[in-house]
Chain length 135, copies 2
Amino acid sequence: MTTLFAAAGAFVRISARTQYALRAVTELAAAPEGPVPAERIAAAQGIPRRFLDNILLQLRRAGLIRSQRGPEGGYWLARDAAAITLADVIAVVEGWPSPDEYPGVAEPLADVWAALREHEERLLTEITFAQIVSL
Amino acid sequence: MTTLFAAAGAFVRISARTQYALRAVTELAAAPEGPVPAERIAAAQGIPRRFLDNILLQLRRAGLIRSQRGPEGGYWLARDAAAITLADVIAVVEGWPSPDEYPGVAEPLADVWAALREHEERLLTEITFAQIVSL
DNA sequence: ACATAGCCGACTTATTAAGTAGGAAATAGG
DNA sequence: CCTATTTCCTACTTAATAAGTCGGCTATGT
């Protein structure tokens, strides 16, 4: 029972959009100096091209990446890979779910989720893309 | 940015079904000896009655709770609240998502999720409903 | 017998995620 | 200045999953 549980994870779910965002940023972190066209990222990571456009736009608006149009254009990191954490990217891409209610005797459950989330946050704000690329 | 992140959590998402299941079991753990009718649980926790039936059935089939039909019937825990963990309930109710692919340079990201899930599992298999009720 | 309560599969609806469309606006090279 | 390239942008469609509903059957205590 708990074996299956360990294998898959129950609460930690990462949306495709978030995964794509993280993988795209990782590509940029791994690339040599200069703009990387969306097409290249899409091919390297197997991300639907149009969808990727959409995500990159969001990341640029949030100030995590920069861009240049036209031939020889593309995207690059707005700051050093060592200064961008996983949490930075996730915070941009994910929506913010509103906290749930736990009536009566079930109220302590909320504390458990809070603990899980706190741990999650600590981990994700510690890990930078410089680290990801160097692993 | 990270403040908002902390407040809401990004990956830790709990489905309504799972929440209801946990809250229902908590009610049973908190109740005195004897069967508790679904109606009572639904009222105490604000869970849609028909939906709850559905969930309780699943928990019973999994052997976590027992039941008795007819007047004075209801549900109760199959074993002591100290011997049922949050993970036990979640394992019954949640489906098992298949692990994702992380091509090329993005591969190390998978290790991060693995770490998150491992922590999640440890926490959830440690906490019993006896503890929840006593908090 | 009758009222209470669980049992059960299938069905519908709501919500969110995932992906698409169609073009406009830059920009480098010839 | 013309053309190919590539980003920019809003809105839309489709797919998937979660949430909740329905109708009726079965067991049981009084």
